[in-house]
Amino acid sequence: MKTLIWKELRENIVWAVLLMLALGGAEVFALHQQNQGDPQYIFGMTLCKTTFLTTTLFGCAAAGILLGFLQVLPELKRDRWAALLHRPVDRGQVFWGKALAGTVLYLIAAGVPLAFSIWHVARPGNFPTPFVPEMVKPGVADFIGGFGYYFAALLAALQGGAVLLRALPLLAALHVSFFAVDQDLFRVAVEAAVAMIVVLCLAGWGAIYSGETVRRRPWLARLAFLIVAFYGACGIGDLAKQLGRMAGLVAHPTYSYWQVLDDGSPARFNTVNNVLVSVTDMKGKPFADAKYQGDRARNHALGMNTATSHIGNSHRFVREPYNPEYRESRAYLYANEPYSHPRLEQWFHLERDAHYVGMLPLEKTEFAVLGADGFAAPGTKVRPFPDDVSLDQASGDLLVIAAPDSLKFVSLSKREITELPLPAPPPIYGVAHAWARIGNRSEDYKGVAFGTALAVYDLKGQVVALLPYRHDVDRWGRIWLGVLNSRDRFVVRYDPSDWIDRKTRVSMPSFVDVMDVKGNVLTAYTVPPGPPSVSSQRWSSFLAARVQGPAFFFGEMLYRRVGAALGSTRLRNLLAEQLGPNLADTRKVGSVLVSVALLLAVVVYFWARRAQLPARQVWGWTAVALGFGLAGLIVFWLAGARPRTVRCPACGQRRRIDEEVCGCCGASWPANPSDETAIIDPLTEPAALAAAS
């Protein structure tokens, strides 16, 4: 074993080092590359930058595949392979020797560059961004995912048979990559990748025993191979979906939402594939005013933000923690606006530690921190802002800190904190940023939501308007503020509170009031409830996402139901959506999936019968097709052991070449025709002669 590992390391270390240099160079280059398309480019989000993550995602996968292939393919030439395997050790040991050496090689090829990149970013003076250790997560996820590709390549190389069958492991790894990249939670992405590594590794271990037939492998490896084949089939589905999306074949999601125009009136925006196709009023009629027609309406929509999502706490509503995707830098830190052009001082909000860090973009060093107790010297450990404090930093130098019982305006450049008097009784529920557009300039306002009214402040801290609520804010507690460009009119929008469950919420109307500075309602609109804000998916895309078949469809529903019963809000909401507004789609998809699976099961049944598989296998594969639909069929097609058949010389029916007797007529194979030129000499004991003399 030791010598095997030594041999593998010695043979491939050069490749690993070359890969390490290439990948390391690419990663550091990606970190330093300034991507103009990235809105936060100047503060390049270091380890979460798209270019960097593209490098790690593809680089780690490529390194894994290359190492896996390099360890097996050159040796797979028949004689070399036989020379390697003809040793008095279990073949499994040869595999583990390769895999252990491969792990070391992969660590060198992909791990060292990642570690170097992390070290490079963590060193102060290299990037104008605070280093948040959690930002290594996406890179680490890619690194682990790439390790899956290593085992996929080992398995693909060891597996015999058709090309597509050998590609299945790689497709399975691809499927996991698609899955991992889509996840919000790092934990889920890593769990999926690790699970696939274990499965691929076991399947690879089995493949070294017999590349040709899965049947000859240890049962654990056989099971692992079936799982790999299944996820490989899902990978085919993923690829098909991607290609379909590229060709525009799969889905045209239509999506409608409503917005308030700059005259204060609500308008419905209708999109197909994210392209705005029409703008209508609430009754569905287009606007007469030319500036509200078509795409131009976008430029005349009012910028509005929510000050709070609910008012009052009588409903014991606990907000689900918001999990932004682990691959997004904003899951870890957020640059204060405006970040689109360089400033001498740049503040960042660190999400987990809930405090601010000020950086000097030119020196690329920290200059100050801001916590719940005020400003402090760089590097100081400060008290984080409590959870019930709203922070609004959407206007350059000004930071608004709204605790339930106090309101503070902070000038970041002057390091000054001013506590403001409250125009209405506390508690404060939240702050919204609003602005009026005057030519090319905008004038900023802050809306502070109290229990009875919305106070509008200018940036100097003066209350310019106190707007009492005109609706039942217990039920319509999601409150938005907008300022018309004339600056003497305010728009308040009331949406159903977040504590109301989604099913009820989508049947409730919304309200829009245009008010003057005194709080008088000038115009009031009621926006009817309806499909807006709910993305209506075509069922074809819904179906395309589920090549897995009924087992997954019903399995997912069962999982959600159990999760909801156990108290998961997220799963309850998902289930409610699936069985609520999407019930019709759900039914359609469900019935299509079931009928397609039934059809495929019948196909597989007769196919397996024709291949003369034993009854147990016939029923097994039929069940697989029934449960996993198209994926089941693909797995049977590619991975199912279907022995070749030839015509039986006795009865003319097709019979398996690997069976001694014909399954139809029971005849055995005809003996070789006797040949009068055959020279057969009975065995004597040749050793006896030598022994005699």
Binding site: D79, H86, R87
Partner: protein, 308 residues
Amino acid sequence: MSTPPAIEIEHLTKFYGTREIVRDLSLTVPTGSIYGFLGRNGMGKTTTIRILLGFEEPTRGRARILGEDSSRLSPATRARIGYLPEGHHVYGWMTVRECGQFQASFFPKWNQDVFEAVITHFRLEPKMKAGHLSRGQRAGLCLALTLAPEPELLVLDDPALGLDPVARRSLLQSMLYVTRQPNRTILFSSHLLSDVERVADRIAVLDGGVIRADCTVETFRQRLRHYVLKFRETPPAPPSLPGLLESFRTDHELMMTFANATPDVEARIAELRPESVEPVEMTLEDAFVSYVGERGEKTFFTHQLNGK
């Protein structure tokens, strides 16, 4: 026999796709014998050997080696089998000594004296890089690696391929050296009939995936007969006689090669009324070529050359 056979192959059939490479092959190699495995290229020799060592699976039938099923050889049994695949692969980056150390680390038994004797025989230095060796030297190194664990059974797949006469002689000597110990068995495939004749007790001839001959070298030579029939006129077309392998007609001669010629056949030959019949002894190589070469009649008439 007292000891069980080293190799037993029973009704082995192997398909690649729909192509039948080996058909209903049965062969027993008794312990203590040296067996030559002959046949033209692509006739299934290597496939049979690979199945025998568990690198491929038989479509039907089975193979046992040292009493164990080939498809699940235990490491302990593998340690008793020396296998030299075609191509003589070595890890080029190792030195000769390292090759030995690498190999030795796997085997419970390792006779360093044997290893050193064989490499010296092939004029190898321990410090030479394996990747820089000539074809014959590489074969020597592989042979040393195969022999040093003192296998009871030696399976050599075309070991002489590409070797010069000196290296071939060394190879044969090493093979004989192995059989100095009692009950050592060798199965080797080869195209060099002179080598086979020197060392083999018995031969098996594989033709088109089927065993056509399984006998001693002597029997093989005895059973193949070559007759030269002289005629005054153009000889008659050869009659179809049982066991006729090939015939060759020239202006005044008819040559016929038979396998298993019976007195009856000789009588039938006499019926052709030739001027003389001369039985000719054949070398093993000629016998083999007639045996597995193309069957049927060939002619060479000068009057055809003259454009009759």
